[in-house]
Point group: C2
Chain length 445, copies 2
């Protein structure tokens, strides 16, 4: 894209040429160009776009710039854009804007669309209803292929996708689904009824978006119909929104796994206080849980007092235990999230982790023993104490790490909270108990 | 789906009825049903499917069952299935099978397709070439809409998608792209040339699949053309494969963040030794790095000896530091992966993390001070030492946590390795140095 050239042309007020160059570009690229301009130039560039293109570009822009543009343009301009933008994109935009801006947008939207927007804004957050669009193509089963195609020609222009068409009866009940491919590949006089697929896979308006995304992944769909409780077709969800949801759900899982409140906002756009708030709750919980670990050490302070070098290996034991445990919990959490591990696999998983932990534990303990006995010249009894503790710590860490996410799932909690931080805290305590236990035994304190 | 009924019918040898019921189901559901059957019943159920459906179901099955079926069916059956299965699915299947099975499959594939399969298998792993399919719909720019539609009617049956068509010249060079929607919505006599989009966004056969996925996300595509170095169209990539790649890349990132070698294999399908191998390298590296932490404690063993209670707070300080640091690194790693944070944002990020860490640090230190001074009745000097160390540990952890992933990216390493485990090890050492430093100062040891 000739970014520089276009900016240059705008700065020189050569709008016709700039418009001409912009017209050939992809809306996503134009949105990116606009975001890099200063506000004033951005507004000029936005205004020289054809209205259709402007509406498309709008749906790719970030919330600050959209806000700025809406504030800057007049009601007529706003009305034209709102007329052309797809309903699901409108909803996405409105959900991000402050309420006074939302009311101005709604005021400049045609009544029919306004009603639809309002009903969308009332669907629960993260439900299928809140992400669907109503710009789908519907057909009747008594149509012939020829009639259907001419119906599409007449009504298809403002639909988000016509690649899949939906067959509904007079009560809007969903009866079948038909790809445009089937339509094209069949003879003109074939009846829709005879070629449509009547076993339609759909979702309900109130279904969670994560479940909807799972259905898309399972069936390799590019669009899915959304029905209400009476199985009436109310909208469709398209794959581009699902891709965003998949990334968003992954981000949330990753955040939970690092002991944070999940947030949909981008890092750079989140305020400092919000960021601090998202992090502090878990830090407090985990800090206070670490009291137990402290109490264990305090209980054995006589052991430490007489063999103070034991303290030097505490960090290594704790870190290795934490790492070994979070490796297991991470794999299990991810496997549960992707549906690759089911609740019924729990025994299989534990058995696998026990075997893995035996291999890992033996190797690490041997390496550790040689390292501290031969290289650091630590005494035999202490070297043995540390290595034996290391072995048991790894085995326990891996079993705890694989069991807790599954237990969480069973308790209908999110398995992602059973990740590194919490596992580490639990394994720390267990590891210290073993450490001092073995020390008391071997060192005869 | 009437799973039980179908299984019942198969068990009673009522194949015609079972076939009839299966015919209406979605291939993904049938594959799932088959996986739950014992091998023998599975084979019977697979054989009663119509050949087209069998080919589709095949591409949804897991590698063990595919292997089993290929071994069990005869060459004629295999040939018929290989004829009907889409090329990109064939590649996916072949890449998972042992080489003797691959050669039998190739022997039963038509020569033209076999050549294509061989050339696909030669594209580098994770390249655009290795995931594309060649079953795309191509048109010529001098065609009219009517000619194009009749061309599609004749040739569209074995294309993976006809929703987007590609316009190529006689040398197969990519000239434009046209959606079926444009085709349907335009008059019969319009020339393709006049309605196609000539500014096509494409990818190269050797491009990394992660970059291709980023383009899909940016442009909301459902298919993208793949060209060779001479810009000749060689295939297309469809969104269903991209969704799988996004999940796979996320899994790999999450595994790296938990200090494991990334693996594409599903947990339950990975052998114990492979799992142990993926985990042990990082555990060894991190265990040996923890030597530094041990050395610091050993250096200050006189301090510990005289105030042994100091040891009791080491786990809490280390864990909180590790957690605070991995919160920051996680957000930055994810932001970098999603392209929401760029290299140019480094100062903005550090400034933000410093402010967040001040808020979090102050609150946690105060809570901690009250907890150990008033509740645990620890002396004032020690309570102050612990709380001051906690504050600095959090600030340092957050700065280290946000800087290291960016440094890794700058050094062309994967930022995901700068996650919790490595950050924890580094922060542990820094935290202990501060702890003993403050202790020496305040306690006058």
């Amino acid at each position: 894209m000739e970014f520089k050239k276009i900016v240059e042309l705008i700065r020189k007020n050569k709008f016709v040429e700039a418009k001409h160059l912009l017209q050939n570009e992809n809306p996503a690229d134009i949105a990116q160009l606009l975001e890099e301009l200063d506000s004033e130039t951005m507004l000029i560039a936005f205004r020289i776009l054809s209205k259709d293109l402007a509406a498309e570009v709008f749906s790719y822009m970030n919330k600050e710039d959209i806000h700025y543009i809406i504030e800057a343009i007049n009601d007529d301009e706003l009305r034209i854009i709102m007329d052309r933008i797809f309903l699901d994109d409108t909803i996405d935009i409105l959900e991000e804007l402050p309420s006074n801006v939302v009311s101005r947008v709604l005021k400049n939207t045609k009544e029919g669309k306004r009603k639809q927007i309002n009903s969308f804004l009332n669907y629960p957050e993260n439900s299928a209803g809140s992400i669907m669009t109503i710009e789908y193509m519907s057909l009747k089963k008594k149509m012939t292929v020829e009639e259907a195609i001419s119906h599409i020609k007449k009504n298809g222009i403002d639909k988000e996708t016509i690649d899949t068409c939906y067959i509904i009866d007079k009560d809007r009940k969903l009866q079948g689904v038909l790809s445009i491919r089937q339509l094209i590949l069949n003879d003109d006089y074939t009846q829709i009824e005879d070629i449509m697929k009547s076993n339609v896979i759909y979702c309900n308006t109130l279904e969670d978006q994560e479940d909807v995304a799972d259905k898309f992944k399972k069936y390799d769909f590019t669009a899915m119909p959304v029905v209400d409780n009476e199985k009436r077709l109310v909208g469709i969800i398209t794959i581009d929104d699902i891709v965003d949801i998949i990334e968003q759900e992954n981000t949330e899982d990753i955040q939970k796994m690092a002991a944070m409140e999940p947030s949909e906002e981008e890092y750079l756009e989140t305020g400092v206080f919000k960021l601090a708030k998202n992090r502090i709750i878990w830090l407090l919980i985990l800090m206070i849980s670490a009291t137990f670990t402290g109490a264990i050490i305090q209980k054995y302070d006589d052991v430490l007092q007489s063999v103070v070098i034991l303290a030097a290996f505490i960090p290594m034991l704790m870190d290795t235990g934490g790492n070994a445990g979070s490796q297991s919990s991470t794999l299990i959490i991810r496997g549960l999230a992707l549906g690759q591990i089911e609740m019924g696999d729990v025994l299989k998983v534990i058995w696998k982790e026990i075997r893995v932990s035996l291999i890992v534990g033996v190797i690490l303990s041997i390496v550790n023993f040689f390292r501290i006995y031969y290289l650091q010249k630590v005494g035999l009894a202490i070297s043995a104490t540390v290595s034996i503790t290391l072995f048991f710590t790894i085995v326990i860490a891996k079993v705890v790490g694989c069991v807790l996410p599954i237990v969480a799932k069973k308790l209908k909690l999110d398995p992602a909270i059973m990740a590194s931080p919490l596992i580490t805290t639990i394994v720390d305590a267990l590891s210290l108990i073993i450490y001092f236990g073995v020390a008391t035994l071997l060192l005869g304190i």
